[in-house]
Symmetry: C2
């Protein structure tokens, strides 16, 4: 298990910067009672944020998606930078969380006072420095495929992560590093791969990158966008945002998943190797481009 | 907005009974970070719980459903009774909440220590006494029908209530009292009514009661079971647990919804009256049987 943060870790909570030991939620916090909140995770390398504005913009979209007013996402980004400065981290990820807060006795009906302010929490977690050798092989591991039982608005980065957390845990119990969701959407009669429990999924087939379209059934991944941009403008890799099946994934030449924290080569699915069971050349090239962008930013 | 509970309200939290003002959650509580918890609401009338054992059994099922070990649901029921006694309430509802607690730095992967205990919270909310005149008309109001965007395991009474809370709020904005979900399930090509944002839904058609089967797409409602039992063994009302469409609901002779706290006649949908726009005779008879069971219990 990861070591707990020291109690004097500086976080942002209750409207200011304070030690973790002096931060908490009220018992009737709607973030608990109704999972009524959204979040972001932003990576910092050498004290600098990566893709800060896209994260702020996505937070604003998520807040709109759950009708949660009263917060300027760009101010959250500024507070995130301030937290990293105060904490003195070179390498970290900052967790941004916005919940509807404590609105009194538990009630499905949302009734907000005129002076309503959402409850903003920021926690910085130190991370290992990025692998500086961009030519190194990316981290790798196996995956399992599980039914996507989540809600239908996966474009909102909601706190409703219970099934994602259970899926990730099931993957680890199976000796894998990620659970990849497959789902039969309404109006269709075939299941498709959507995304991973905390990642977007790419496959490589005949030299082409494929990933699920940004149609609301997956999170509009920021690293996903960075990788597609690198494929188009830097690597000259053909790609398509289109759905594919679990069979397509298992038969792919390469598979990888990505999140804010890293790109991971998926070298087996349910124990069956993908390609030759090693991170493939396109995965490695994409990871190199990604690493260089972070180092250059 | 409902008045806040006084800070000296006795709750169960942190493993004992204490004033609300001395109860909180840790910042890394998984109940917030991952909506990683389940709940129940139990009604008390004249200091006595109604259907306590079914609530404890359903809590145990929900805990199994999210692989959350370490809690005896019958002990939760005992603590609930003790809370009501200490609070001195005659009429109340008690909210039971079990979350995975604070397991250290935020991680989708669930890793629990060997001495793991879930985080149990109990809050008692005073309620108005039950309408003692069992022959009185039930409360009534309108409903709206909205797309069921929730996850697919609605048999688990999960904290992932964000869409339910937003749906209830949309209903109230439309002048209605409940939002009723309709969903096209995988493998089907037609939408059916599932349940309400915080209720089970019944329609009356040609003298027969219809409600969605307990097949995992709805919460196995305890009041739902009580009403079906009353229909069968007391009222001699024909009923079927079968799906029906939004069109069926709109064309029904009567519609009502039920939860632990009350049965409500739905007298209009999107402003169009159901039947003659008044609580119907079967709804009223069912409500009478329900009220008598609570008064007799």
């Amino acid at each position: 298990m990861p070591a707990p943060l020291p109690p004097d870790t500086i976080v942002y909570a209750h409207g200011d910067f304070r030690p973790l030991a002096q931060a908490s939620y009220a018992l009737e916090e709607r973030g608990v009672l109704f999972a009524d909140g959204v979040y972001e995770v932003v990576r910092y390398d050498r004290g600098k944020p990566f893709a800060l504005k896209p994260h702020a913009d996505r937070l604003a979209n998520s807040l709109d998606g759950i009708d949660l007013p009263g917060l300027d996402a760009d101010e959250v980004a500024d507070l995130s930078n301030e937290l990293v400065k105060r904490a003195g981290h070179d390498h970290c990820k900052v967790y941004w969380q916005v919940t509807r807060g404590d609105l009194g006795p538990r009630d499905f009906l949302i009734q907000t006072p005129t002076d309503f302010k959402p409850n903003l929490t920021l926690i910085a977690y130190p991370t290992p420095p990025l692998q500086r050798d961009a030519t190194a092989l990316p981290p790798s591991g196996g995956a399992i495929i599980v039914e996507d039982c989540r809600w239908t608005k996966c474009w909102i980065k909601s706190l409703m992560l219970q099934p994602a957390s259970l899926a990730k845990t099931a993957a680890h119990k199976a000796g894998a590093v990620e659970a990849i969701f497959e789902r039969e959407k309404p109006g269709t009669t075939e299941s498709h791969i959507t995304e991973g429990s905390s990642t977007n999924v790419f496959i490589v087939r005949d030299g082409q990158l494929l990933t699920h379209p940004n149609d609301g059934w997956v999170l509009p991944g920021i690293t996903r966008d960075v990788l597609l941009d690198a494929a188009q403008n830097e690597l000259g890799l053909p790609f398509a945002e289109q759905t594919f099946t679990a069979a397509d994934l298992k038969a792919a030449d390469e598979v990888f998943v990505c999140s804010t924290t890293q790109l991971t080569a998926i070298t087996s699915v349910h124990g069956q190797p993908i390609g030759d069971g090693q991170p493939g050349p396109i995965t490695t090239a994409v990871n190199k481009a990604y690493t260089e962008r972070i180092l250059a930013d």
